[in-house]
Symmetry: C2
Subunit: 356 residues, 2 copies
């Protein structure tokens, strides 16, 4: 049974070893509950403490103001792609979606079932480089109930941080950059993230929503997608995914112990710089995202010579660096580096990139 | 760290000890993947094998005909309460819901957002006892796209097995009786179950659907609730809850190793008979469900003397029998005994019930 050296999968992502060890212990008995964490009731005091601690940690890590609610909801980001428009479409008719790549377009496409969706250009081709338009350049229709943004796009590896001042409430999909970007929550209306990247495992989402944006759900909204119902029931509308919530709490604790989000952000910059410097130094490799918008989390690159890509993937696998295949829609190489990825892993991969 | 003796929680439910041991091992490395089961990609061959094995096992255990699809979907039964009507309401206007208690009423109530719902009487008061009407007595409107039934109601502890010949497709919520009732799948149109009772942990549902019932989804159906989309994508519409699927596979394997569903059914009968005999022998305790419809899974009873209830709960807890509080809407005592509950646990509880 060989130990993995380093995992670069796009999600479900690598978990810190100490978190896995803690989970292993709790599979047999959680605290003094006499129960496995897998058996714990969603109505037990133990679980209520798990939810409370998670909320407190997240509120502290992101300095979330008091007028925002924190919700935990079953399902991933694709379910939120429907939940967001459903929770506005009881009152609103229009929404804008900033187009920065595959995931933002998918979110907008799903929202069309409920709202008139206007796509806003988010990328610009600038001297053979793809850049993000700055928020002052976004053409947002003022009639929109909200502007949806995807600050980190995992497939093309594009990232922008912060949104400046936008006229309408900003809804952000943080699935791939949760706890990995310094953001000012007060600039957003809704923030959501599926948990399988920096908050643990798949099957759960965290939603942060400003109080005044509650209450706009359309009557056709499934109960389990209603933000207001989750607020009323402290997220326990039905049997919530208990285990996924518990893993999210462990990840929040772990981030706090590491020093908080600014430390995570610095490490992401450090890891990704190692990789981009290596890519730029190798003339056989291509990354055409402009430097300020290169994702610090998902480093994607390719080559005109497919043999170079295959060779690199093979060598990497032999050295225990796995999960590096590009997204099936993009090809090439992609290194996804969430909070569970070490600097050492990035160093090893950077060496191979230089040699590719 | 005292070991629990016996857990009677309503779900998340007790898991067999050997299943927990297996999970504990796989938290560090799953098979030869070099990854934790928590890190496994939903697009990996390992996971594809997990889904395939789960489907094969379920198909075998319930002799599911070839013209039925097996789907795995994020979220629990409450999400299916919306998914079911949404997947019919593109073509249909009416649905019938058999009323046998809290959960069947809740399912019907949620469906009203999308369809004209007719409730069908499922219970009858018969000489101070509550009985289920037999299927030949159900007054089902022939215009209904389907009849929804809840064969086991966990709060009042009412159960019926099988549905006879109903004119319209029957949709059954098996959440609390999955793998615990002998049923003929060919009599049903759709069967669904959240997994936190007999199939592992919360956050996932299994859906079994007859081919000809696919394709009726309303245009307002969220992608993650569409049965047809799950068929097209082999259940991987987005990042499916990988870990919950894996635990479901372990539970299916475990049931097969125990001898299959008929063995599970016999054990449920044995466990519940021990408890009902004890309740009937104690004149201070009340269960007013007629014998043929007493749930073999959730044994609920109460007393006119609240002190008797409290006393029994206290004694039980001291002896390591926990999770016995009745549902918060019903009070009293409730012993939920899913497949992970031993005969020994039922014997110990039966003794205390006699002494209450």
């Amino acid at each position: 049974m060989g130990k993995i050296l380093h995992y670069f999968g796009a999600g479900p992502a690598a978990l810190p070893f100490e978190v896995k060890q803690r989970i292993q212990k709790d599979i047999i008995e959680y605290e003094d509950s006499k129960l496995s964490i897998l058996e714990l009731s969603h109505r037990s005091e133990y679980f209520s403490n798990i939810l409370d601690r998670s909320k407190t940690l997240l509120r502290e890590l992101y300095a979330i103001p008091d007028n925002y609610q924190i919700l935990f909801m079953a399902g991933g980001a694709t379910l939120q792609f429907d939940a967001v428009p459903l929770n506005f479409s009881g009152k609103a008719k229009y929404a804008s979606y900033l187009d920065t790549g595959f995931w933002s377009r998918k979110a907008g496409k799903l929202a069309k079932k409920y709202l008139d969706v206007k796509f806003v250009a988010g990328l610009i081709d600038h001297a053979n480089e793809i850049c993000c338009l700055s928020s002052s350049e976004w053409q947002v229709d003022a009639q929109s109930a909200y502007l949806h943004v995807t600050p980190n796009e995992t497939i093309n590896g594009v990232e922008f941080v912060g949104v400046g001042n936008v006229e309408v409430p900003v809804v952000a999909d943080l699935t791939s950059c949760m706890l990995m970007q310094n953001i000012d929550v007060s600039k957003f209306g809704v923030l959501y993230a599926a948990t399988q990247k920096s908050l643990g495992i798949a099957g759960l989402s965290v939603v942060i929503i400003r109080n005044d944006l509650l209450g706009g759900a359309s009557q056709i909204t499934p109960d389990l997608l209603r933000y207001d119902l989750h607020v009323e029931n402290n997220s326990i509308v039905n049997t919530i995914p208990v285990f996924a919530c518990y893993v999210a709490m462990l990840m929040l604790l772990w981030v706090k112990e590491q020093g908080g989000i600014s430390v995570m952000v610095e490490q992401a910059k450090l890891r990704s710089k190692l990789l981009y410097d290596a890519v730029d130094s190798n003339s056989k490799l291509i990354n055409n995202i402009c430097k300020k918008n290169r994702s610090t989390i998902n480093v994607a690159f390719t080559s005109n010579d497919q043999g170079v890509v295959t060779g690199l993937l093979d060598t990497a696998e032999k050295e225990g660096l796995i999960g590096l295949q590009g997204h099936r829609r993009a090809g090439g190489v992609r290194a996804s580096m969430y909070n569970g990825t070490s600097i050492d892993a990035a160093k090893k991969l950077a060496r191979l990139i230089r040699l590719a």
